[in-house]
Amino acid sequence: MAQWMTLSDAITAFVQDGISIALEGFTHLIPFAAGHELIRQGKRDLSLVRMTPDLIYDQMIGAGCASSLMFSWGGNPGVGSLHRFRDAVEHGWPTPLVINERSHSDLSNAWVAGAAHLPFAVLRGYTGSDLPRVNPQIRTIACPFTGEELTATPAVRPDVTIIHAQKADRKGNVLLWGIIGVQKEAVLAAKHAIVTVEEQVDRLDAPPNACVLPHWVIDAVCLVPRGATPSYAHGYYTRDNAFYRRWDDISRDRATFRAWVQEHILNTADFGDYLRVAAESKRQVASR
């Protein structure tokens, strides 16, 4: 049963050091506010799951929150590398990062298996690829009818999933639309789910067959306007492409990154405060 609460309270209540956690959202609706709050609360030793680590996990990895990462594509889309992710994998900074690497098709199938309470997923994947050689979790299975050999991979069932959505009603029923990625699966596969939303409404007014998550599959709902920034929320604000490009400079160097985290996350009280500080940083960049 969903409870409305502050994001800070939700993270404190449901996220303990050492748990497995997924913050999902495929380019769209990435729950950045929640990622910042995990950094702000100094969470450690998290087993991260996310198809595309993106800037959100680059920040968390660089800030030392993670001990492992399950993922399928780890770049800054359209820009280049995720420097903090690379630094962790290549040099173990700030702490070593164990990786569990899969393909998009595999990991999205694994989310489906998790939501369906199956222990594994079956797909036509990886043939000829070296990935099964370096990831012993990628196995084969024979079809009991045709004898055909297919790929089997374990389901994903994290302790906590966090997503960002456009709307929730007072009971905590959640509506999202546009690019919905694996968010429904990620919520249903998790033991606990936290949803941050752009707004609270009296009625969802969901179109037929929309992606709705009923309040009874969610633990906490948190009102965080612009909570997906610098990602976007369809119908609310656009993607801050400029920030994605600026991140390349901010994150390339350890000291610059640390200073950014200190100023923008550790020194801010919450995501509203971050947005004010970030807007100020932008003005300074623009006036240079």
Partner: protein, 261 residues
């Protein structure tokens, strides 16, 4: 009428776009593949169907998305499905005619690496990884690859096989039970390469105007062959260049947009 000026990247993108037939269902990676696919859609192939792995099916963006899941893709699509559905029903389901991919390394049999440079356990360079590539390369009916051609990208041996082309060549792909015809062309900034029968090694089939055999050979780590009838790539038309440059121009404006938000 003088021939229009153009860059080698423009030649590459235009060449790649021309490979897409009108009406083809195309699974598009971000970056160069997305640029080429949208150029095709805005020139000779208005009915090409673009599928992005984030969920949009039939996207018709007016500017190039910076990421694979920009709102422009969702807003212009015929429908937006979940990411698992894209991979399960549409790609694995056998509905994709052409997979359009890039790569950090490619070998003579068009196998590609987007995972690591160096050893997997202690890489020199950690690349972004597989994404959709392993299943695109094995489930799409055919694959087009776009890669800038250098000694670093065209290698004798991949550091890591992320996604397969023709494995060890000949019939080895089919023998491994992999669906689809595999890569039918590799488009670079220097030339177009295609698999030669029967060994399916990549050979140069056309060279871009002004590019010499020596230049191409010097940019390839293996002993590259040229097709007997190897000719010259048709240069970009004014119309192709105009559309491509407008796309880039509108995209640059969109990329900068976040700053003012």
């Amino acid at each position: 009428m003088s021939l229009p000026e153009y860059t080698s990247d423009e030649m590459m993108t235009v060449s790649a776009a021309r490979m897409l037939r009108n009406g083809a269902v195309c699974f598009v990676g971000i970056g160069l593949p997305s640029t080429a696919a949208n150029l095709a859609r805005l020139t000779h192939a208005p009915d090409v169907v673009l599928i992005y792995e984030s969920g949009p099916i039939g996207a018709k963006p007016s500017h190039l998305p910076l990421s694979i899941g920009d709102s422009e893709l969702a807003e212009t699509a015929d429908t937006v499905v979940s990411t698992p559905e894209v991979f399960r029903y549409w790609l694995q389901g056998g509905r994709v005619d052409v997979g359009f991919l890039g790569a950090a390394q490619i070998d003579r049999y068009a196998n590609i690496n987007t995972t690591v440079i160096g050893d997997y356990g202690s890489p020199t360079v950690r690349l972004p990884g597989a994404g959709g590539a392993p299943e695109i390369s094995s489930n799409a009916k055919e694959v087009l690859l776009i890669v800038r051609q250098t000694l670093q990208t065209f290698v004798e041996k991949l550091d890591f096989v992320t996604s397969v082309g023709f494995l060890s060549g000949g019939d080895s792909r089919r023998a491994a039970g992999i669906r689809g015809d595999g890569p039918t062309a590799v488009i670079t900034d220097l030339c177009i390469l295609q698999p030669r029968l029967p060994d399916r090694e990549l050979v140069v089939t056309t060279m871009h105007p002004g590019i010499s055999r020596e230049r191409i050979a010097r940019s390839t780590s293996w002993d590259l062959h040229f097709a007997e009838d190897c000719g010259e790539t048709t240069p970009p038309t004014e119309h192709e260049l105009e559309v491509l440059r407008r796309l880039h121009c509108e995209s640059a404006a969109a990329y900068a947009a976040g700053d003012g938000a």
